[in-house]
Structure formats: structure tokens, C-alpha cells
């Protein structure tokens, strides 16, 4: 399964990444599992991408950690929003 991953706000800045296309290994089917998998990338990732620090959207709709990811989805990870 391949997805587009976007980063905004604090995680985007701290991980120095705004966009990547990733191939998900078998067994990564929900947002929570995706986040746990990304945390394995290193200390910086483990620190940044906790479920309390990050919010998420799938295909441009806010989504909960239990939400299912599908092939070709656009997934965004970001800090809590603060517009206006």
C-alpha cells in the first residue's frame, strides 16, 4: 500500500519534511499504526509523532487514530490547528 504523507505546523518544521510518498509494510492499516511505524525512524520522530502532540487528516478530512488507511490515500500529520 502506497500513500502520500504531508506534514504541517510543528512536525513539518521539526522533521524538516513537508511531503513524502511511502510504501507501507503489511500490518500497517490504521493511522495509529502508521504513527507508531513512523516513530521507529528515530528519536526525533518518536518525540514528535505522539498521539497527544499530533492531529491527522485522511484525504483532507480530520480523522481519528483508529481510522483505516487505503492505498493511494493522502494522509496529513500536523500540530493542533491555530488559525484566525
Amino acid at each position: 500500500m502506497q500513500i502520500d504523507l504531508l506534514y504541517f505546523g510543528r512536525p513539518g518544521e521539526n522533521l524538516k519534511l513537508s511531503h513524502e510518498t511511502v510504501q507501507l509494510p503489511a500490518g500497517i492499516n490504521t493511522l495509529g499504526e502508521l504513527l507508531a511505524w513512523l516513530r521507529l525512524r528515530g528519536d526525533n520522530w518518536a518525540q514528535e509523532l505522539t498521539e497527544t502532540r499530533v492531529r491527522c487528516a485522511i484525504n483532507q478530512e480530520f480523522a481519528a487514530w483508529a481510522a483505516q488507511i487505503r492505498d493511494r490515500d493522502e494522509v496529513a500529520l500536523f500540530s493542533p490547528i491555530s488559525g484566525g
Binding site: F8, G9, F78, I81, S82, G83, G84
Partner: protein, 152 residues
């Protein structure tokens, strides 16, 4: 377009004139303008950086406007949100509503800015002399938004 996300500043007078011209039935117009303050929790803010999620931000604002139009009789709505680097006293956001009657224009405008704060993907980073900090959703903003669910 009733939604505009842009770096450039906006002219509130020009927007209101445009809204006024949409219909002879417009009897009331309300505008809310959000500005950059130079103080945040007693720390001096030099400037702010505003980021958004292109595509989703337009969609989220569009949805909020549709809901506002279902609740109140709004003849015209305009939302402008600026992005990029802004300094103290700069305009950040404009929400303008036009209706036949002021009650609808007031409520619609307040509803849209309250929902924008909690449902539209924008992020503000404050640059202070002590360093930089991403602003997070305020509890008071969430409470203001939730008020609308209780009222209807």
C-alpha cells in the same frame, strides 16, 4: 469566490462594497477582522508565520460557510485568510456576512469565525525574542465553537 487564502493584505471597505452590490435586499452587513497582536501571554511577538493545508483549508472553510447559510439567511459571505509572515497590527483574517436583517448577519459572522478557529487547517507560529513557538488550539476557542451546538 467566497473564500480566499492569500499572502496579500485586503481592503475591508472594498470587500464590503462588493457584498453590498450583490443584492438590493441586503439590509445589514457585519465584518470581523482578526489582527496580529504584539503580545502573547505577556511575551513580545516580533512577527507570526501562518501556514495552511492547500486544498483542505479551502474545502473546510467552504463547508463552514454552507452550514452557516443553512442556519441563517445570508445573502453573501466572504472569508479571507492571509498566510506567510505577518507583523503586529497586520490583518490576518476577514469574515464578512450580508443579510436582510442584522440578527442573521451577526450570528452568521460569529459562527463562521468560531468554527474557523477549530475546524480549518491553519497554523500560526509566533516569533518572539525568546524563540519560536507553534500556537495550539485554545480551550476557550473550542468552548466557543461548542456553544453553537447547544444553541440549536
Amino acid at each position: 469566490m467566497s473564500v480566499s487564502i492569500q499572502q496579500e493584505d485586503f481592503d475591508v471597505g472594498a470587500v464590503m462594497a462588493e457584498m453590498r452590490a450583490t443584492s438590493n435586499n441586503v439590509g445589514a452587513m457585519v465584518s470581523f477582522v482578526g489582527l496580529v497582536r504584539d503580545l502573547s501571554y505577556d511575551e513580545r511577538v516580533e512577527n507570526i508565520f501562518v501556514e495552511h493545508y492547500p486544498g483542505m483549508s479551502e474545502k473546510a472553510l467552504g463547508k463552514i460557510i454552507v452550514e452557516a447559510k443553512q442556519r441563517w439567511d445570508l445573502l453573501a459571505v466572504k472569508v479571507i485568510h492571509r498566510v506567510g509572515t505577518l507583523g503586529p497590527n497586520d490583518q490576518i483574517v476577514l469574515v464578512a456576512t450580508a443579510s436582510s436583517h442584522r440578527g442573521h448577519a451577526f450570528s452568521g459572522c460569529e459562527f463562521i469565525i468560531d468554527y474557523l478557529k477549530t475546524d480549518a487547517p491553519f497554523w500560526k507560529k509566533e516569533v518572539k525574542n525568546q524563540g519560536q513557538e507553534w500556537v495550539v488550539t485554545k480551550d476557550s476557542d473550542v468552548q466557543r465553537m461548542q456553544r453553537w451546538n447547544r444553541q440549536n
